[in-house]
C-alpha cells in the first residue's frame, strides 16, 4: 500500500514536470559535453584543414587541357591544374549561379598572370594530355607546356618524339644544377671571404686615422708605408676578386648554352634556356606510385631547400632552422631565470603583501601583448645591451652594428622574457606540490635549507618545471609579432650556425616559420600562388612545435618515473 502510494506520488511529480533526483544536474553534464565537443571539433577541423591543404601542395595535380569558348565565339585551348571549383552569383542573370574553376596555368612570362577563372559552362571539352610537362623554373614560377626539342650544350638536337629526349633533358637539368652549385660556392664562399678581407683592410685603414678617400692627404704624415702596404693588399684582393667574378660569369654563361623549345597549349612555340629549369615532371604520365614518389621529392625539396622568388618558391629550410634554434635558445634562457625566481618567491621570500604583489604582477605579465615585449626587447636588448657590447667589443665595425641590431640572440631573450611568467607560475606550483613530509625529513637529517631545495625539492619539482618549459616553448615557437622588430627577416643570407668560426653567430638575423607564414600570405606579390605554401608552412610549424613538445614530454615522463613522488 505504502509503495503503491509513493509510486503514485513519483508519477505525479514527473507529470508535474519534476525530475527524479538522479537526473538533477543532467543538463549541466550535457552542456559540458557539448562544450568539449565543440572545442574538439574546432581543433580537429583546423588541424585537418591544415593537414590536407598542407600535404596537397606536394601532390602532383593532373594537368587538364580544355577547349573554352571565348566571348567572340572562337575557341581557345588552355591547360593547367584545377585549383578551386566555386560558385558565384551572376550579376547579369538574376537568381542564377555560375560554376567556375580557378585554373593554374603557370607561364607567367607569357600570360602575365598564372591564374585564370573559367566559367565551366563555356568549357567545350576536357582531356588529360600525355607528356605535358610541369616545370619548376628559376624565374616566372612554373611553366606548363609540351616540349618540342632540346638543343644540348654540345650542339646536338633531340626532338620530343625521340625516346632519348626525357633522359637527355634530365641530364641537362642535372648539369645546370651542378653549375648552379658551383656558382653559389664561388659567390657565397669565395667572394664572401674576399669581402671579409676587404673589410679588414678598411678597418686597418680606419685605425691608421685615414679613410679610403683621404688616404693621399694623410699619407705624408708617417703612416705612408703602412697605407701603401694596405693599398697593395687591396689591389691584390681586388685582382683576386676580378678573377673569381670572371670565373662565375663564365659558369653563368655555360648555364645558357642549352635551349629547350616548347609549345604552349594554345600552340605558341617558345624557347627557354635550360639554365632556367629547376625540375620537371609529367604528372599525367605518373601512376599512383610515381605520384607518391614525386610527392616525397617535393616534400623533401620544400624541407631542405632555400626560398626563391620572394619566398613564393623553393624550400623553407632556413625558416625551420631559425625557428628551432630560437626556440631551443629561448628555453635554455628562460628555464634558469624562471626557476631561480620561483625558488626565491616560494622558498626564501617572506610571504607577505610585497611577495603577493610580485606574484600578481608576474601573472599579469602573461597578459601583456607580445608586441610590447618586442618593443621592450628592441629598446633594451638591441639598443641598450647590444649597443653597449658594440661600443666595447666591436667598436672598429661602427657605425655598422654587430650586436646593436636585431638578431637571434636578442629575439630569444625577448621571447624568454615573454614566456617567463609561464615558467615561474608552473615552477611555483611544482614547488608547493613537493610534500612537506620529505622537506621535514631532509631537514631532520641535518640538511641545510639550500641542500633540501637542491637535493630533494628541485628533483621532485622537476616534472612540473618541465611542464612549464613545454608550455613556454609552445608559446614561444608560435610567436611572431615581437620577433618582427628584434631580428626576424624575410630572407636571411646565412644561418645562425655554420662551419665558419666561431660557428655560432648569435648576432645574425634569422628566418622564422611564423613570420614566413605572414610574409607569404600577406606580403607576397602573388598571394594566390603563395596560398598552398602558407598551408604547408603552417603544417610544418605545427609539426615542429609538436616534435619539440613530444621530446620535452618524453624527458618529463622519464623524470616522473625516476622521481615517482607524486604518489604521496
Amino acid at each position: 500500500m505504502a509503495t503503491d502510494h509513493s509510486m503514485q506520488s513519483k508519477e505525479k511529480a514527473m507529470a508535474a514536470g519534476r525530475r527524479p533526483d538522479s537526473q538533477h544536474g543532467e543538463p549541466k553534464v550535457w552542456l559540458s559535453a557539448l562544450g568539449l565537443t565543440v572545442g574538439l571539433l574546432m581543433v580537429v577541423g583546423l588541424l585537418g584543414l591544415i593537414l590536407i591543404k598542407g600535404l596537397q601542395v606536394f601532390w602532383p595535380a593532373p594537368v587538364v587541357q580544355m577547349q573554352v569558348k571565348k566571348a567572340d565565339g572562337s575557341v581557345e585551348t588552355l591547360a593547367g591544374e584545377i585549383r578551386v571549383i566555386q560558385h558565384r552569383r551572376d550579376a547579369a542573370k538574376e537568381g542564377q549561379q555560375i560554376e567556375e574553376i580557378l585554373l593554374f596555368m603557370g607561364n607567367k612570362d607569357v600570360f602575365g598572370n598564372a591564374f585564370r577563372y573559367i566559367d565551366t559552362a563555356l568549357i567545350e571539352s576536357r582531356e588529360l594530355p600525355k607528356n605535358i610537362v610541369v616545370a619548376e623554373r628559376m624565374e616566372y614560377g612554373d611553366g606548363i607546356f609540351f616540349p618540342v626539342a632540346l638543343k644540348r650544350a654540345d650542339g646536338a638536337e633531340v626532338t620530343a618524339a625521340d625516346a632519348a629526349f626525357y633522359p637527355a633533358l634530365q641530364e641537362e637539368v642535372d648539369r645546370v644544377a651542378a653549375l648552379r652549385r658551383d656558382i653559389e660556392h664561388i659567390e657565397k664562399k669565395e667572394i664572401g671571404r674576399i669581402n671579409k678581407e676587404l673589410l679588414q683592410i678598411n678597418l686597418k685603414r680606419k685605425a691608421l686615422g685615414a679613410d679610403a678617400l683621404g688616404a693621399e692627404a694623410l699619407g705624408a704624415e708617417g703612416d705612408a708605408a703602412a697605407l701603401a702596404g694596405l693599398d697593395e693588399e687591396q689591389t691584390r684582393i681586388q685582382a683576386e676578386y676580378e678573377k673569381l667574378a670572371a670565373q662565375a660569369r663564365q659558369l653563368r654563361d655555360q648555364l645558357g648554352v642549352s635551349t629547350l623549345t616548347y609549345r604552349l597549349a594554345d600552340g605558341q612555340q617558345r624557347d627557354m634556356s635550360v639554365g632556367n629549369l629547376v625540375t620537371f615532371e609529367r604528372p599525367n604520365n605518373l601512376g599512383f606510385g610515381g605520384k607518391l614518389l614525386a610527392m616525397v621529392k617535393h616534400g623533401w625539396a620544400f624541407l631542405s631547400g632555400t626560398p626563391r622568388e620572394a619566398n613564393t618558391e623553393g624550400g623553407i629550410f632556413p625558416a625551420i632552422f631559425g625557428t628551432f634554434v630560437m626556440t631551443v635558445l629561448m628555453s635554455i634562457l628562460v628555464t634558469p631565470f624562471g626557476v631561480i625566481a620561483a625558488i626565491y618567491l616560494r622558498e626564501y621570500a617572506k610571504q607577505g603583501f610585497l611577495v603577493q604583489a610580485v606574484r600578481i604582477s608576474i601573472n599579469n605579465l602573461a597578459g601583456v601583448p607580445s608586441i610590447v615585449f618586442g618593443v621592450f626587447g628592441l629598446g633594451f636588448f638591441v639598443y641598450t645591451v647590444g649597443g653597449t657590447i658594440d661600443r666595447f667589443f666591436f667598436s672598429e665595425y661602427l657605425p655598422n652594428p654587430t650586436f646593436g641590431t636585431g638578431g637571434i640572440l636578442w629575439a630569444s631573450f625577448t621571447l624568454a622574457l615573454m614566456t617567463l611568467p609561464v615558467v615561474i607560475v608552473a615552477t611555483e606550483e611544482a614547488l608547493v606540490a613537493v610534500p612537506r613530509g620529505v622537506r621535514e625529513a631532509a631537514l631532520a637529517c641535518g640538511a641545510s635549507k639550500w641542500q633540501t631545495i637542491q637535493r630533494i625539492v628541485l628533483p621532485g619539482a622537476l616534472p612540473g618545471i618541465l611542464t612549464g618549459v613545454i608550455l613556454s616553448m609552445a608559446r614561444g615557437a608560435g610567436e611572431v609579432a615581437p620577433l618582427m622588430i628584434v631580428g626576424v627577416v624575410k630572407l636571411a643570407p646565412s644561418l645562425p650556425f655554420d662551419f665558419e668560426a666561431p660557428f655560432i653567430h648569435a648576432e645574425r638575423k634569422f628566418m622564422h616559420l611564423g613570420f614566413h607564414i605572414y610574409d607569404l600570405g600577406f606580403q607576397s606579390p602573388d598571394s594566390e600562388a603563395a596560398k598552398p605554401m602558407v598551408f604547408a608552412t603552417t603544417l610544418l610549424l605545427i609539426a615542429l612545435v609538436v616534435i619539440m613538445n613530444v621530446a620535452a614530454i618524453q624527458i618529463r615522463n622519464h623524470l616522473r618515473r625516476k622521481y615517482a613522488a607524486s604518489t604521496f
Partner: protein, 290 residues
C-alpha cells in the same frame, strides 16, 4: 588484542645479551650495564618549556628529564601538544611562521636555543621518524646515506658500511640488500617506514624521535617496528609519540601523559598504567575520554 605477556615475550626475544632486568630498571648504574660510560639520566632535559603558535599557547611550562638509552613514550589525546613537544626537540617547529617559546630544552647538557649552536649541527645529533613514512624520491641506498651526503661525507667504503649497518639495525637489510639502487617507492609501507628509521640512525644520532611511527601501518608492520625499537634503545635514546596506549605499555620504559598542553604525569610505564597518580591519567588510560 595484544596481551602484555605476549609483548614481554617479544621484548625478551628481541633483546640481545643484556640481562632483561636492565630495560625495566631505569637509570641502572654503569657497573650493572657494563657500558663504557655512565648513562646520562638527563639526556633530554626539558625545563619550564612553553610554546606558542602565534597567540595560541600549545605547551604550558613543561619540565621533564628523559634518560639515555630508554624508550620514553608521550601519550595523550589529539591536540594535547605531544607532537609539538617532540618536534621542538630538534627545532623542526622553527619552520612555522610566528612561533615562539619560553623555557629551555637541553640535549646532553647543550641548550637547543644557545645562539652559538647551529641548528643544523643540532639536528645531526637528533634523528627523527615521522608519522607518514616519507622516503626521498631516490634509491634505497641514497635514502639511507642522505644525512652523510649533506654532511659532505662521500667516501664510498664508508657509505657502503653505513648503509649495511643502518639497514641491519632497522631489520631491513635482508629484504633489500639485492636492490639497494632501486627506488625507495618500490617498498611496502612497513619497509618504507623502516627505511626511514635506517635513514634517521645512519649518522649515529644520540636521540631518535618517533612521531607516531606506526600510525600509517598495518598490525604486522607495527609489530616489526616495535621489535625494532627495543633493539634500537641499546644504542639510542628513543622518544616516541603514540596514540596507542597498548603500544606505549608494551614498548616504553617511561610514559608521559599530556593533556591540553600540560604534562600531567611522567612516570615509569608500569607504574603509570597500574597506579596512575592523577585522576586525569586514570580517566584516559581507562578509556573514559580520548
Amino acid at each position: 588484542m595484544w596481551q602484555p605477556s605476549k609483548s614481554e615475550i617479544i621484548c625478551a626475544e628481541s633483546m640481545p645479551p643484556a640481562p632483561s632486568d636492565i630495560q625495566t630498571t631505569p637509570n641502572a648504574g654503569p657497573a650493572e650495564t657494563g657500558l663504557e660510560h655512565p648513562l646520562n639520566p638527563r639526556m633530554v632535559e626539558v625545563s619550564g618549556f612553553s610554546f606558542f603558535y602565534g597567540a595560541k599557547q600549545a605547551l604550558f611550562d613543561i619540565s621533564m628529564d628523559i634518560p639515555e638509552r630508554e624508550i620514553t613514550a608521550l601519550i595523550g589525546p589529539s591536540g594535547c601538544g605531544k607532537s609539538t613537544l617532540l618536534r621542538n626537540m630538534n627545532r623542526l617547529n622553527d619552520l612555522i611562521d610566528g612561533v615562539r617559546h619560553e623555557g629551555d630544552i637541553r640535549i646532553d647538557g647543550t641548550s637547543l636555543y644557545d645562539p652559538t649552536v647551529e641548528v643544523i649541527s643540532l639536528r645531526k645529533r637528533v634523528g627523527m621518524v615521522f608519522q607518514k613514512y616519507n622516503p626521498f624520491p631516490k634509491s634505497i641506498y641514497e635514502n639511507v646515506i642522505f644525512s652523510l651526503r649533506v654532511a659532505g661525507r662521500n667516501r664510498k667504503s664508508e657509505l657502503d658500511e653505513v648503509v649495511e649497518k643502518s639497514l641491519r639495525q632497522s631489520a631491513l637489510w635482508d629484504e633489500v640488500k639485492d636492490r639497494l639502487h632501486d627506488s625507495a617507492y618500490g617498498l611496502s609501507g612497513g619497509q618504507q617506514q623502516r627505511l626511514c628509521i635506517a635513514r634517521a640512525i645512519a649518522n649515529q644520532p644520540q636521540i631518535l624521535l618517533m612521531d607516531e611511527p606506526c600510525a600509517a601501518l598495518d598490525p604486522i608492520a607495527t609489530l616489526k617496528i616495535e621489535e625494532l625499537m627495543l633493539t634500537l634503545k641499546e644504542e639510542f635514546t628513543v622518544v616516541i609519540v603514540t596514540h596507542n596506549m597498548q603500544q606505549a605499555r608494551r614498548c616504553s620504559d617511561r610514559t608521559a601523559f599530556m593533556y591540553m598542553g600540560r604534562l600531567v604525569e611522567f612516570a615509569e610505564t608500569t607504574q603509570l598504567f597500574s597506579t596512575p597518580a592523577e585522576a586525569e591519567t586514570e580517566a584516559y588510560i581507562t578509556g573514559q575520554f580520548s
